[in-house]
Every structure is written in C-alpha cells, then in structure tokens.
Symmetry: C2
Subunit: 344 residues, 2 copies
C-alpha cells in the first residue's frame, strides 16, 4: 500500500487527484509552478512545497507529473539530478504515452517510470475547477514496455485500484496512442476538414442554413480551441498520419464503389461496422454508457481472477484489455481480478 | 392565396403539413397508401380519399408528394394521366431534389412541378407522430430550374410563407443536393468509416474503453439504420462521391503535412475553418441555434425588400440565399421581404 504520493502541477487533473488521495488517507505532497492554489490546497490537507526540488527531496513513493505536456522535458530535466530513484517511482497523467516515454528516456529516468492516463476531466481547467469526483468510476490506462520493472508497475497500478478506487487496463505505449488517434485525434482532424470544406464553399450559408443534427455532431470538436487540437495531434503525429491515410483510403474506395454502383461493396461497407452498432445497442440496453457489463445469473457484474506470468506479463495484460476486461484489484502481486465487460 | 392543397402520404411530414394547413384555414384533401390514419385525420378536418386518382380529380391548387422516395416513380406514373395540370401545381417534400426532378421529367410532369424540402422532422415516423408544431420556425428549400414557371413557383412559395408560416430559400437542384451531401450525406459515410475502422482493429475493445465525447459525436449517425443511410446516399450519389474525394484529398494532404512537419501548412489547415467557428460563436452569443440574426439598432431582426427581375429570377434568389438571407414573405409577386441572417 502506497502511503505517500507527490503531485507536480495542481491543475484540474493533478488537483483533483491530490484531493482524492488525501480523502482516502494518502499523504500528498505537491508543487505547482505558482503558489495560487496553495492556500486552498493546504486547507484540503495537501502539503505544498516551494520548489520541484523540494518535492523530489520529500521522497514520495509515487510522483505523478500532472504538468502540461509542453513543459514535460523541462520537468524531467530538473528532476533527473535530484530524484531518489530507489524510493520514488515516477508516473504521469499525459494523454499521449509514446512521446512522454521518449522524453523520460532522454532524461535518463526510464528505469523508474510507469506511464498512466486517467479517462477523466471536464471542459474546465485549473485547481479552482478540481473535484475528486471527476475520478468516480474512471478507467486508467497504465502504459508499460519490455523494460518496465514489475514492482514499480504494481506500485502505480495498485495505488490506482486501491486508493483512487478506479479500474485499469495495461497497455504498451503504441497501442494506447494508436487507440487515442482513432477515438480522439483523427476525429478532430476530420471534423476540422468538414468546417474547412464548408468555409471554402460559395454555398456555405446555404449549407449552414440546411444543417441539422448530423452536421452539428460531425463538427462539434472542430469548434474547440484549434491550437490545443493541433498540439494534441502533433504529439501523436505518426499514429494520426497512418489512420488518416487509412480513412482517406476508405472514403476513396466508397466513392469508387458508389460511382460503379457496386452493390456488394456498398453492402460490405455498411455491414463492416455492425459489431460496433451491436455493442452500443447492448450498452444502451444495459444502462449507462461506460458501465455496461456482462452479468452472471445473479445480475451482478461477472468478475474473474487472472494469473499473471512473471515472463510476458505485459502481453497477458494486453490480451486481457483486448478482450474488454478491466482490472479492479490485485488479489496478490501476480493475480488480478477483472470485470468482464461487454465487448465489440 | 392558395385555398386547397392535396397531400399524398399521411406520414410524419405529410400528416404534420396537412394538420398545419387545416389549422390555418386551408382546405386539405389527402390520400394515404392505407386507411390507417383516416379516422383521426378526418377528425382533424382532413378530407381523406380512397385513391390517388380521386385526389387528382379533386383538383387541389397545390399537390404535395409526401410519400417515401422509393415509391416516387410509381406515384408520378399514376398521376401523369389523371392530373389536371391547368389547376394543380405539383410539389414534393423529398430530401434530395435532383433525383426527384429527373423522375418528374421522366413522367412528363416537369411543366407543373416545383420542388420543396422542409427542414423539419423528428426521430419518429407515421401519422401518429405527426404534429403541426414540427414546422414552427422551419426553413424550406424551394428548388427551381431554368424551365420553372414563375406563377407556379409563386403559388408554392407563398403557400409556405403565408399558410405554413415558414421562411424559404430558393435554390437550383444541384446546389441543394451538394449542400445536403456536405451537411448530412458525407458525414454519414465518414461516421460509418470510423466505426468500420474500429470494428476492424484488434484493439477495438481498448479503443472503445478509451472513447469519450469526440468519438461519441463522430460516430452517432453511424448508429442509425444503415439501410436508410445507404438509400439516402445513393439518391445523392454524384455529389456524395465528389465530396468524399475532396475530403479524402484534404485528409491525405494533412497526413503529408504532418509527416513533413510543415508548420505553415498545418497552420493553414487549422485556420481555414475559422469563418465557421466565428459564425457559430456569433450564433451562440445571439441565442438559439438557427434563429440568430443580424440586428439593427432597435434590436429587431433586420428585414429588407428585394426586387425580383423577370429574367434571371432564379439567380437573384440563389444570390440572396448565398448571402444568408431567408425569404419571409412576398410583398408583391416580384418583390420579397428577407431576413438578413448572420452569415459564415
């Protein structure tokens, strides 16, 4: 059981995490690039320190980097000479994992690092908007690679299941970032391409006048801050590029099939996504999005125990995530309990 | 002022239109392919007839085809020999206009036809779901071509502004269908391509687990009935094909620019849609979507009168629609009053 956690950056994600951990009996030390949140944070029981170096010197068992990604290299370079690697395991909450891992390696901190990405947040930012409840029922992706030390992984993973009270899936960086490209980064580009298409049309006011729900949904994320969208996409550039080429190919093929009146090909196109339609239907029928589960006869969520092998544990975790399972606790260091969720 | 209207098909759109017109003092005669809605429709004051031929024989001044598009050729062929073209102007409410116009021409009815498409509807269908209020504050596209008779156009257009109480824009078929491809048909294809992409991925359950708002919005329309989506796209095939090729080109260019780290090109991509972002921002600041307007100093909607030339009236109307103006009434046969709406 992890007793002390350090937080770099008391923004929405870091501040909410700090407050949640304090509320669950974990000692939290924090540093923020300015002292604005300190008065309120201290009332919440968070120990606020003057410098990043002081935070390293406090030797928390796990130190979460919750700073913006653009200052990650600077944070890592400042931590490298002062972090007590024997005591402290380094983690982060960034939304892209490959780039952060590379920066961690460049700072010489790879041996004590385990990546993390909580599926939590709101449209607001800053400590004033922080709320421990943004982690209610949240899922975290924990990212590991072939060199990750299992003891350190276990420290971060069990902290999240036990003290944050959340579910986890364990992925390699590439799998995480490829999935993020599909479910977030590429949709942002496509949505932007649509508003570009409309803006360039001499009939833009006519199109805008005729627009209804499908246009509104398709273009909503293109209305968010384009600078933030661009930064997010450039951080995951390789995966976004590959996916956009694939999507462009799908759209061109569909245009070809439409041109050729190829009935069979058009039928295949509209059938190919049926597994996802069926999945969403099951999810809707079983209740809330994101909490749907396969049930055993008693109506409870089906939970099973999975043994983790000492060699190849990364693959065992990845296979479990691919089956749609979420880890809810560590029964023992090499055995987890997972929820069997409805799968695509 | 049109005193009698015929309705073919008492579904959601036709039934709601019939009830709205009766409520505003217009005599309405109707025929439906079965008599299920007749008992209730008659209580609402709609004269229900036994056959389509009886409806033609009733000689309404305007006859709206509100049947499903797939039976349009059959309806037109049955009407051709019995319609009194001197008395009756034919119109429709279909969501694609080029295909319907071609079918009308094939049936030899082009000389008495004026196309129409109301921006109205709900997720339900059938007369039981009909409601005159679905036309509250609605916009109609009226479609005309070089051969359209102005008197017939005026009959349909003024019926909608005066007796349905709605705004109109006047377009050619191609402009209407190209806009529909942009704001509805192409988004349906792109949304489907995304769920196909996910369904084909070995990491589909991981992607689904990480998915949040941007994925939900991007893929919502792909969850609607794929057969209906396919039919809608095939009815507007040429425009959808052209737009998808254009979008595929935009996505490929973006992938190239991302690969080349072409800062200037990426900046251009994210700036190109700014006119639409600004438009949506003004719309949000001024209140409800779809009712935003440029205001004069008194805070009222700015309305202006536009003279319509006897030669080239189609182009004058199209230019007005392109400026974001909506026609609210005919001051005289060759002069309209338009609302000047906020433009992209």
């Amino acid at each position: 059981m992890v007793k002390s956690v350090g937080i770099v950056g008391l923004g929405l994600i870091g501040g909410s995490l700090a407050r949640r951990l304090v509320g669950r009996g974990v000692e939290v030390v924090a540093w923020n690039h300015n002292e604005k949140p300190y008065a309120v944070a201290r009332q919440d029981g968070i120990t606020c320190l003057n410098t990043l170096e002081d935070l390293a010197a406090a030797k928390p068992e796990v130190l979460f980097l919750c700073n913006p990604l653009k200052v990650m290299p600077e944070m890592l370079q400042r931590l490298a000479p002062v972090l007590d690697r024997n005591t402290t395991t380094l983690s982060d909450v960034g939304s892209v994992k490959g780039m952060v891992r590379t920066q961690v390696e460049e700072a010489g901190l790879a041996d004590c690092f385990v990546g993390a990405h909580p599926m939590a947040g709101t449209e607001f930012s800053g400590f004033a908007a922080s709320d421990p409840a943004i982690y209610d029922n949240a899922l975290w992706a924990i990212t590991v690679d072939e060199t990750t030390d299992y003891e350190r992984f276990l420290k971060v993973a069990a902290l999240i299941t036990e003290s944050v009270g959340n579910r986890i899936i364990v992925l390699d960086n590439k799998t995480h970032d490829r999935a993020a490209a599909m479910i977030s980064h590429a949709p942002h580009v496509v949505s932007t391409a649509f508003i570009n298409e409309l803006s360039a049309s001499p009939d833009r006011n006519i199109a805008a006048a005729l627009a209804a729900g499908s246009w509104r949904d398709m273009t909503r994320v293109a209305l968010t801050d384009p600078d933030r969208t661009r930064a997010m996409i450039e951080e995951d550039a390789d995966n976004v590029e590959a996916l956009l080429r694939d999507l462009a190919g799908r759209l061109t093929s569909f245009a070809d099939d439409l041109h050729a009146h190829d009935d069979a090909a058009l039928t295949r196109f509209f059938e190919a996504g049926q597994p996802f339609r069926d999945y969403k239907l099951r999810e809707r029928e079983s209740g809330e999005s994101g909490v749907s589960v396969e049930s055993d006869e008693s109506g409870d969520i089906e939970r099973i125990a999975i043994d983790i092998p000492k060699s190849g544990w990364q693959q065992t975790f990845l296979d479990s995530a691919r089956r749609g399972e979420h880890i809810v606790r560590f029964i023992q260091p090499w055995q987890v309990e997972v929820e069997k969720r409805s799968a695509v």
